[in-house]
């Protein structure tokens, strides 16, 4: 009896070990290469984006992979975290020592994204499927457009907020924090040393991964996956659907907020226009590519898809073409029945044919067809 419990635990332990090894390994390799001077400035510039996108993908996986709901608004949470963070960073936090300044910025970014998650989540989670996708997408566009017409600044008379330039007046000398559609620029980096900033990114990624894995391997996580697999059964067992859907949605938003903060602090500018559905879809592609509910997969896919366009820069006009081909090939390898069977056979051979395959695709597993002996509900 203890044995079977152990098999399951072993499987989740494997995921933990693999995820941590992946992240720490990545960090170590970068440190070594950095000290040997093997990283170009272009590569150095990608380190934080890789961390940020990995956090985005892992957190979106919570909603798409584990909860099974399609959200196309993940960029909005990133943007809300980034904006709130930068407003503090360049405003009240401007003259603080750097360490508490960054920490508070991160907290504010996460909180703002979480709050936006609540505002969006409560009305939106009544929908599911295509409807949820469209509504989240709409929220994403709304936030981007509203921020593009927002003017915010502080002077000796207090805080000024306007939605039109004409009604926005600051005392001479006071610096506006948000200037409508103009990108916010002049954001200091976390640290002039890229390796320190990168370490902050890695720590945040570790935090995200730990949170997501721990959550999913606990009571709340089981409730979330149960809802994904069968809402009606989950309801009948006494699971509060709204509560757990919101839990997944808001947690996911909080981490997207963190990702937003480190991303803009690294980039030094915040251009609202960049945070549209394209970005949401890019993150979604990472999740799908890495595998639904597969945390290390999300990290690998995020790193790969962030690096790939840069690595392909030499091919100039063929860049996006090759990028798309690579996407299709990976997707085929992950999902096409021929490849899946091939992988399963290989895995079975490796295991010496003793066990049932751990991975089974729905269309090709024995339980599936035999389990289809289900009449429709009577009424």
């Amino acid at each position: 009896m203890a044995k079977t419990g152990n098999i399951i635990r072993k499987k989740s332990t494997k995921t933990y070990v693999f995820s941590y090894a992946l992240i720490v390994g990545f960090w170590a390799v970068v440190q070594i290469m950095g000290h040997m001077g093997l990283l170009s400035s272009k590569m150095l510039g990608l380190l934080i984006p890789i961390c940020a996108y990995a956090i985005m993908a892992v957190s979106l996986n919570l909603v798409v992979g584990f909860l099974g709901e399609l959200s196309l608004g993940h960029a909005a949470f990133m943007l809300s975290g980034a904006t709130a963070g930068v407003v503090f960073y360049n405003g009240a936090g401007l003259n603080m020592p750097q360490v508490p300044r960054v920490i508070i910025t991160l907290i504010i970014g996460a909180a703002a994204a979480g709050l936006f998650g609540v505002i969006v989540g409560v009305p939106v989670l009544r929908f599911s499927g295509d409807y949820l996708a469209i509504v989240t997408l709409a929220f994403c566009q709304i936030l981007k457009n509203v921020l593009s017409t927002t003017y915010l600044g502080v002077d000796s008379k207090g805080v000024h907020l306007a939605l039109e330039q004409s009604s926005f007046r600051l005392e001479p000398g006071a610096k506006p924090l948000i200037k409508g559609a103009q990108p916010i620029s002049g954001i200091n980096k976390i640290s002039p040393d890229m390796m320190i900033s990168f370490t902050v990114g890695i720590v945040l990624l570790l935090l995200t991964v730990t949170f997501v894995l721990n959550l999913m391997n606990s009571r709340a996580g089981r409730a979330i996956t149960a809802i994904r697999d069968d809402e009606i059964a989950a309801k009948s067992i006494g699971i509060n659907l709204t509560r757990y859907k919101l839990m997944a949605f808001i947690s996911s938003a909080v981490f997207a907020g963190l990702a937003g903060v480190i991303y803009v602090l690294n980039l030094s500018t915040l251009d609202f226009k960049k945070y549209d559905y394209n970005l949401s879809i890019n993150v979604l592609v990472m999740v799908v590519l890495g595998g639904m509910g597969n945390v290390p997969g999300s990290i690998i896919a995020a790193a790969l898809l962030t690096l790939l366009p840069e690595l392909l820069r030499d091919f100039s006009q063929y860049r996006m073409f090759i990028y798309s081909i690579v996407l299709i090939v990976i997707m085929l390898f992950n999902q096409a029945p021929v490849f899946v069977q091939l992988r399963q056979r290989l895995a079975a051979k490796l295991r010496g044919n003793r066990q049932m395959p751990e991975e089974t695709v729905e269309t090709a597993d024995a339980g599936y067809f035999e389990a289809k002996k289900s009449g429709k509900e009577e009424e």
Partner: protein
């Protein structure tokens, strides 16, 4: 007083009266059958008892608590668990996790205990693992605990669904066509399992089933529905000899 007391329950969908005047009285520890032609409203009755549908009229009292029109969550906590006609397992989760989800409200702990993996988390998880394995043991599928639920053969999926329902420690278990798609021998085995569940767990069981050997061999009391109305009620002997039941449901004895 009976464990479950249902009076004058009715519901209609778009003007069509699906169930009306439904009443039921199930004592604790009893095995009770609900039979009737396809489309008679049996599953609809189950859906009202479990809070999936809100009845238009009538009352459902479970162990002294009025659960009429309450949410499935409330009713699950109050002590009713069910299985489904077309098995509804959490297909991509492990067998063990399916049962542990069933304990959702029985062994609760907050989200942060799980995220921080503290002592509470470890103690509760250990308790759940143990209880779940014991349940799986009873049904003889403990060795499959690590499998993905959809990998189980059909008969074991039915068993797992019952396990999951029992994990919430219900006072009343509703089984919707538990023997559907089983051959006669598997049905006999299932009959023993159901009886064992009643005896070991001391709970009442209300079941919908078309396999008459199964129903007659196990139920102590039977209610027959046709077109949403009760047409007969009593012990298996009485019901199976009732001319209206024979005409509407059993058919002539020509096989």
């Amino acid at each position: 007083m009976a464990l479950l007391e249902v009076t004058n329950l009715g519901i209609s969908f778009g003007g069509l009266q699906a169930v009306s005047g439904f009443r039921l009285s199930v004592d604790s520890g009893h095995l009770y059958g609900l039979i009737g032609p396809n489309g008679a409203g049996k599953t609809t009755a189950f859906n009202m008892l479990t809070g999936m549908y809100e009845p238009d009229e009538g009352k459902i009292i479970l162990d002294g608590v009025d659960i009429t029109g309450k949410s499935p969550e409330f009713i699950s906590k109050a002590g009713i668990a069910r299985t489904f006609q077309n098995i509804r397992l959490f297909k991509r989760m492990s067998v063990l996790d399916n049962v542990k989800v069933g304990m959702h409200n029985k062994v609760p702990y907050g989200m942060w205990h799980g995220v921080l993996r503290d002592g509470v988390f470890r103690a509760k998880e250990k308790e759940m693992d143990q209880r779940a394995m014991n349940l799986l043991e009873v049904f003889g599928i403990a060795d499959k605990a690590g499998h993905v639920a959809s990998q189980l053969p059909y008969g074991e999926q039915r068993k797992l669904e019952i396990c999951r329902a029992l994990a919430s420690e219900p006072k009343l278990l509703l089984l919707d066509e538990p023997a559907a798609g089983m051959n006669p021998n598997e049905t006999i085995e299932l009959r023993e399992t159901v009886r064992k569940v009643r005896d070991d767990f001391g709970i009442a069981i209300l079941l919908i089933e078309h396999d008459m050997k199964f129903v007659m061999g196990i139920c102590e009391e039977i209610t027959v529905l046709e077109y949403g109305k009760i047409i007969a009620h009593g012990d298996p002997e009485t019901v199976s000899n009732d001319p209206r039941v024979i005409a509407a449901y059993l058919g002539g004895d020509d096989d």
